[in-house]
């Protein structure tokens, strides 16, 4: 991508990663979040999938230190659970000494199911099956007590600009589509006429 103007527009789209549903700062008691659902969306796994795709990036942006793991399996009939791990004592977290490679990680082959809570940890679960992602988010915010992040006036203005740009783009796209459709229709008519003319020519011979 070279065009600087285009680049600025795309950078503005980074706002999407910062603000919107899911932009919230979690309280410091939360040690990690674990999502467990199926690979495909049927049988009530659409909500968790959407939550992961739309809300989780923003949560991760505002809480980069909290591990958020997504463990997916091929079992469509299985449960869709979110586990939130709370630190019970206010004492500082014991440093996780196991190397990063051996720690649980996100997976698509059901490698790392939700681990049992460590001592002095408490788990809160949310059943996500057959739920809309918005409903999951409200339940999540309520159970964690997260504080929402609101865009600053500057950012709000930028967001508005992005929106306007999109609207303008839609209008322009409609105009171009109309023009192209007209062109294609004419070409089609011409082709048809030519074929007919040739057919007549052949018949005359």
């Amino acid at each position: 991508m070279v065009n600087p103007g285009k680049r600025m527009h795309i950078l503005k789209a980074l706002l999407e990663l910062r603000h919107g549903p899911g932009a919230a700062i979690l309280p410091p008691e939360i040690t990690r979040i674990h999502l467990d659902f199926a690979l495909r969306w049927n049988d009530g796994h659409m909500g968790p999938r959407k939550f992961w795709k739309t809300c989780l990036p923003r949560l991760k942006f505002w809480n980069p230190a909290v591990p958020m793991l997504v463990n997916r399996s091929t079992n469509q009939t299985g449960p869709a659970l979110m586990s939130i791990y709370f630190r019970q004592s206010a004492a500082k977290a014991t440093k996780n000494l196991t190397p990063l490679v051996q720690q649980p990680h996100s997976s698509t082959t059901n490698e790392c199911p939700a681990p049992p809570p460590e001592e002095e940890e408490r788990v809160v679960t949310i059943d996500m099956k057959h739920q809309h992602s918005d409903a999951i988010l409200t339940e999540f915010l309520q159970k964690t007590g997260a504080t929402l992040v609101h865009p600053t006036p500057d950012e709000q203005m930028e967001m508005q600009q992005v929106e306007e740009l999109q609207e303008k783009g839609a209008v322009d796209r409609a105009i171009v589509k109309k023009y192209l459709d007209e062109k294609r229709r004419e070409e089609k008519l011409l082709l048809q006429a030519r074929q007919e003319a040739e057919a007549i020519k052949l018949a005359n011979q």
Binding site: P4, I10, L35, L56, P57, P67, L69, V70, V101, H105
Partner: protein, 315 residues
């Protein structure tokens, strides 16, 4: 034709530069007709001007044309402004957010070095040994004269296939299932390799040893130790793109890797200076599914709430 606007502008100029301009009143009457003629010549025309002015205009036009031609000889590039550049930790924060919930085995940080370069010149290509290798599945085959110490050396250094005639036979028999993914050749075996005519098989796979790709050597051992954990890179369409780290790397590791690569590419560009002029324009960090961030060379995050340590948790 003098429009009223021009008259006014000339008046303004008169008032600004007070001296050395003869006014109409000071001219003797008997000279008046010739003076008026001179004044008529001095009014500006579109294509007019003295010979010097015309020459200058021609020169300018030529330069413009040359610049335009030059533009198509080079790949397009744009120098990013400060506003669209990020420090390493900021970029990592965005990328880790974009990659949340993906298995870390399938996600890597990638880097793209944009280079200002002409389209038909020599390209930058070399190997780099990153301090923290992204992945390590290098299997090396060695072409060297059989029944010499070289075979022993190759075996010691961990080659999966070695020899001369036997190796050629192996390659010819099952070209689609080769045990190695890198092939190097000793200098003494080059004639034999050329005679064997394996270019058709090895060429498309990018395995054919040649001086250009730095895969013909005198010391098998040195080359092999250099190759294990080394990644090749090559400039394509004015950019070098290569994976630079696992998504689980911490900021320090990633910055070490990026620094190593950038320093080496700068060295390569310097080495080519007598042949072709190239510039490193920008360093863009991206990830498998994330957006790209032009780096400004800084390390620390701009947000005070975030520390570099926060960016090294499990993904």
């Amino acid at each position: 034709m003098a429009t009223p606007k021009q008259c006014i502008s000339s008046l303004a100029r008169l008032s600004l530069t007070s001296t050395a301009r003869p006014t109409a009143t000071s001219i003797p009457r008997f000279l008046a007709p010739s003076i008026t003629q001179v004044q008529a010549q001095q009014t500006r025309y579109a294509g007019g001007g003295t010979a010097q002015m015309q020459a200058r205009a021609r020169e300018k036009e030529k330069l413009k044309k040359k610049r335009k031609q030059q533009r198509f000889k080079e790949y397009k590039f744009a120098v990013p402004s400060k506003a669209e550049q990020f420090s390493l930790c900021d970029a990592m924060r965005y990328l880790r957010a974009a990659e949340v919930g993906r298995p870390p085995t399938s996600v890597t940080y990638e880097v793209s070095l944009k280079i200002r370069t002409i389209k038909n010149g020599p390209v930058v290509r070399n190997r780099v040994r990153l301090p923290y290798p992204v992945k390590n599945d290098t299997r090396i085959g060695v072409i060297c004269p059989e029944n010499t110490n070289l075979v022993h050396d190759a075996r010691q250094a961990g080659a999966v296939a070695f020899g001369e005639a036997s190796l050629f036979k192996l390659i010819k028999e099952n070209p689609n299932n080769l045990p190695f993914n890198r092939l190097i050749c000793h200098q003494d075996s080059v004639p034999a390799l050329n005679k064997a005519g394996l270019g058709r098989i090895l060429g498309p796979k990018g395995l054919m040893p040649s001086l250009k790709t730095n895969t013909i050597t005198k010391s098998i051992k040195g080359m092999m130790t250099e190759m294990v954990g080394a990644e090749t890179y090559r400039e394509k369409i004015g950019a070098i793109r290569m994976p630079i780290g696992n998504i689980q790397f911490n900021p320090k590791q990633l910055s070490d890797n990026i620094k190593t690569l950038v320093m080496q590419v700068k060295g390569d560009i310097e080495a080519m200076e007598d042949r072709v002029n190239k510039d490193l324009i920008e360093v863009v960090l991206t990830s498998t599914n994330g957006p790209g961030f032009s780096l400004n060379g800084g390390f620390l995050p701009t947000d005070e709430m975030i520390e570099p340590d926060h960016l090294s948790t499990a993904m």
